[in-house]
Structures are given as C-alpha cells and as structure tokens.
C-alpha cells in the first residue's frame, strides 16, 4: 500500500482539482437493495393453540416502543 501511495502521490501536485477528480470518480451508483428473497425467508411452524411470535423484521428505521426486543444491528 505504501509503495502504491508513494507512486501515485509523488510527482502529483495536490490541488483542489486532483482531490475533486479522485472523489468524483468514486461516485458510482450502488445497487438498490431488495427485500429478503422469498426462498430465504424462515418458515415458522406454529402449533395449534400456540401463541404467534411477535413480528420482527429487523427494521430499525421506525423508533417505537413496540416490537423492539431484538438487536437489529448486532454482529
């Protein structure tokens, strides 16, 4: 990494344009995320009379006091 860094930086006068070009060329459109594939969704079998589990889709975008038992962003 260090040799590559030196190779790129040395001999290049660092200007606002050099920085802008480097940043601009890393602006690349990311793929749109899709909802979890149906084939990979877990199947939960509920026995007759058993209580339905609380919905937990891992969405931590809506702060709410309800349905917040899991840790949606754990390792």
């Amino acid at each position: 990494m260090k040799s590559k860094q030196a190779r790129i930086i040395v001999g290049t006068a660092i200007s606002a344009a050099v920085i802008a070009v480097a940043v601009d060329h890393t602006r690349q459109r990311l793929p749109d995320p899709e909802k979890q594939l149906a084939s990979q969704q877990a199947v939960i079998i509920i026995d007759e009379g058993e209580e339905m589990p609380a919905e937990n889709n891992g969405d931590c975008g809506k702060p709410t006091t309800l349905g917040r038992q899991a840790s949606p962003c754990s390792l």
Binding site: Q5, I8, V18, Q28, R29, K35, L37, R68, S71
Partner: protein
C-alpha cells in the same frame, strides 16, 4: 473522560495522503468502498450483512460489516451503513460507530447507537480511544475496503471523540431517575449522536492548507 487523541499535523497529512491514494486507486477502477465490497453480490438484500462474517482489520482488533435497512432512518440520503466494532478482549466485540453511505458510495455521517441496537458490551470512550491506537501507519491492510475504513477511523479520530462525547451526554441526559445501564436499553432511544462527513472538504482543508503553510 480522561484521555483525548490529538493528531499531529504530520499524522493528519499522512492519513489524508493515504486516503487520497485509496480514492485514486478506486477511481481508476471506477469503484468505491461499498461497490468493491458488493462486487460479487448478485442481489443485495435488506437486513443482510456484507460480508456475513465481517471484515477484520488493524491486527484483527477491528471488524465491520455493511448492511441496508428496508426503511431509511439514519440519514435521508442513506443507502446503507457500515457498523464498526472493536475487540475489547476475550473476543468481546463492542460497537464503536456506524458510517452512513449514500447511493453513490460516499460517506455521509458517523453515528452512534444505543447499546440494545447492536448488542454486545458498551464501549467506554477511554477504551475506544485506546483501540484507535491500534490503527497505525504500520498496518498492512489486505484490501481497499479495510484500508479505507481504517484510514477514515484514523483521520476522523477527533471527530469520533466528539461523537462519543455527544453519545455519553445524551445517555446522561436521559438517565435522570434511572441508571445509565437502564437508559442503554431504552427502545425509544436509537441513534445517540451523529457527525457529518465530507471527504472532499476534509482533504482540501488538510492537504491544501498544509501545502499553503509550507509554502507560506
């Protein structure tokens, strides 16, 4: 808080130059850190971690993954975010910070979240600062993405220090009448602090000002 990291001008210049070199490397490949990370992913799924086992870097003391949520919440322009953890001993990974990324792969902001969001041990700011010291100029990262993450952590260490101060202040503010441990489990408290990121301005500020200082 008993400690604070203050980067020298020389250190800042080093990390700025390293970041610029990484960006130039990505630019020549028409990519960015997230696109690089997702290069082999056919279908990006919400809530899934990329990579599943996380990226290890800085002597395996830091670990990160990227994911997207179904609902944007950290920032209105967010595509997804990195969650960055650090090993505080005995394989206990504590969440340090998140890094929001826009739809073009550019960092938007650092953020911290409440303990219950990421689970694991609570990371004290002193420990966080100590862990940052493992990110050194001698780390030989294997890939662009881990190098980029390590460089951002090093370059933004003072910003992250402020981020942690704001996080702790918010926890204290919500802990009147209860312990901070209870507040860390409060499901009404999700994001605790944010700090915006603008790479181009950061590089211009340090690299161009430093050049000007030398010439002047």
């Amino acid at each position: 808080m008993s400690a604070q990291i203050k980067s020298s001008s020389k250190e800042r210049s080093y990390w700025c130059l390293k970041l610029l070199a990484l960006l130039q490397d990505m630019a020549t490949q028409n990519t960015n850190a997230v696109q690089q990370l997702l290069a082999d992913v056919d279908c990006l799924e919400v809530e899934r971690r990329y990579p599943e086992s996380g990226l290890l870097f800085a002597g395996r003391r830091w670990r990160a993954y990227y994911h997207c949520h179904e609902t944007v919440f950290m920032h209105p322009n967010e595509h997804g975010h990195f969650h960055i953890f650090t090993d505080i001993g005995d394989q206990h990974w504590a969440h340090a910070a998140g890094l929001s990324i826009d739809a073009e792969g550019q960092p938007l902001q650092w953020f911290t979240v409440n303990r219950w969001v990421t689970d694991g041990p609570w990371l004290d700011s002193d420990v966080f600062l100590k862990q940052l010291k493992y990110i050194t100029e001698n780390n030989e990262e294997e890939g662009l993405v881990t190098s980029w993450l390590a460089t951002l952590l090093a370059l933004y260490n003072d910003t992250l220090f402020d981020l942690f101060n704001s996080r702790d202040e918010k926890i204290r503010h919500h802990s009147t009448g209860c312990s901070e441990v209870v507040t860390q489990e409060n499901r009404d408290l999700y994001t605790l602090s944010t700090q915006s990121v603008h790479l181009q301005s950061k590089l211009e500020k340090h690299l161009l000002c430093d050049q000007g200082g030398v010439q002047g």
